[in-house]
Amino acid sequence: MPSLGADMDAGTLVEWMVKPGDTVQRGQVVAVVETQKGAIEVEMWQSGTVDKLLVTPGTKVPVGTRLALIATKGEVSATPEPVAAEPAPAAAVTPGPPVAHPEPHPAGARARVSPAARRRAEELKVDIGIVQPAEPGATISLADVERAAAQLQVRPLEAAPPAAAAGDWHAQMRKAIANAMSRSKREVPHYYLSTQIDVSRVSDWLIGENLKRPVASRLLPVVPLMKATALALREVPELNGVWLNGVFRQSSAVHLGMAIAMRGGGLVAPAIHDADRKTPDELMAALRDLVARVRGGRLRSSEMSDPTVTLTNLGEQGVEQVFGVIYPPQVAIVGIGKIVERACVKDGWIAARKVVVATLAADHRVSDGHRGGLFLAALDRLLQEPEKL
């Protein structure tokens, strides 16, 4: 079970999209996992052949649990690579619910459990470990769970009305955000910087670009800001990476986490990979795809686990400046406020200029205010030449 964010400690395997014997490629979606932030598609990070699926759909397992065994090229299946061996930040693997095994068990070992039975056991609050199958060696079925529940005289929980599902999901989401943000405020010594940037040129450039474009390929103002942020991070790389086990790991790639609000509350900050190497059009397309999937579809595991920095843009709601809370294990968050017109003095003259306040909240264990200031200066400089973005 990969860690799909610092706030995740367990996930429920919903569906396998491969079976033993299948060849899988790096990046291929092999499973769907339900997390507090919705269903996530789990991608492979190496190619190989599926040897064994170790977790059955419907099972909730802690981060770090092996989900399947993958034999890589030239390997015999006896020395398989475990899936979910990804470095899982803060994933102390605690003993979790029993993992169903797809192979016959010797006497005394845990019996197999059908997904429906497992769900029912959770609903009835029955410890699946005490449930006996109808015949020795058989799979524990839904009926077995219900019989055990009756014997224990455990009062079943009332079935939740459908409307409660959304409320529960909302509570889960709040819990996930609470965990990550509390950890950040507890562990990360933030420092905060802010600067006003003249974005008149980039605004003019954008108007000109959009006049040339059909409505469906117009760019939003956030796009040049994303690109400039990604490029400025190359110049101050100690803001781009993750803090793991007391050590900063700088990232050579800029995977820009975009804070995206979800309808009905909550937010996620999935990554746009290699944002520094994408053109404005590619960034717009990537953002469009991401927003659509945040609001109505599925995110992918790499998008959840890969961000090396986050960009938050609250200008939409009229906020002039936003000081973000760093999303662990990242070490910086860049905030963009609303683009406003202001009277600015330039060369002794007062002129109406479009300006935006850009902020940086960064981890003082990794960088200092001086370097953070250089980042904001680079962001300013890059935005003065929008045609080069």
Partner: protein, 95 residues
């Protein structure tokens, strides 16, 4: 040009097209409760992405490409309907 594109739209049809575009973006909103005279964005949680998507949908539906400089005229449901009917009749006149 397709004949159907040439016909005049009634105001009701224009409003329906607007609500259809918004409904696809903000399915949780009960548009019967939206005041057509009050600013839309103070009543419906729309960000610039949602707004752009609504513009794209209106373009698909009515064939009107709304330039960015006209976005300011789309503040309320009524002003959006006014703007679109104006644009549609102007288009019909130039055909």
């Amino acid at each position: 040009m397709d004949i159907s594109q040439n016909r005049a739209y009634t105001r009701k049809e224009i409003l329906e097209a607007i609500l259809d575009a918004l409904g696809a973006i903000a399915p949780e909103v009960d548009f019967s409760k939206v005041d057509p005279e009050r600013p839309l964005r103070s009543q419906v949680d729309l960000d610039s992405f949602d707004f752009l998507n609504a513009i794209i949908r209106l373009h698909e539906k009515l064939g009107i490409d709304i330039p960015e400089q006209d976005y300011g005229k789309l503040g309320t449901l009524n002003s959006t309907a006014d703007y679109l009917s104006q644009r549609l009749s102007a288009d019909a006149a130039t055909r």
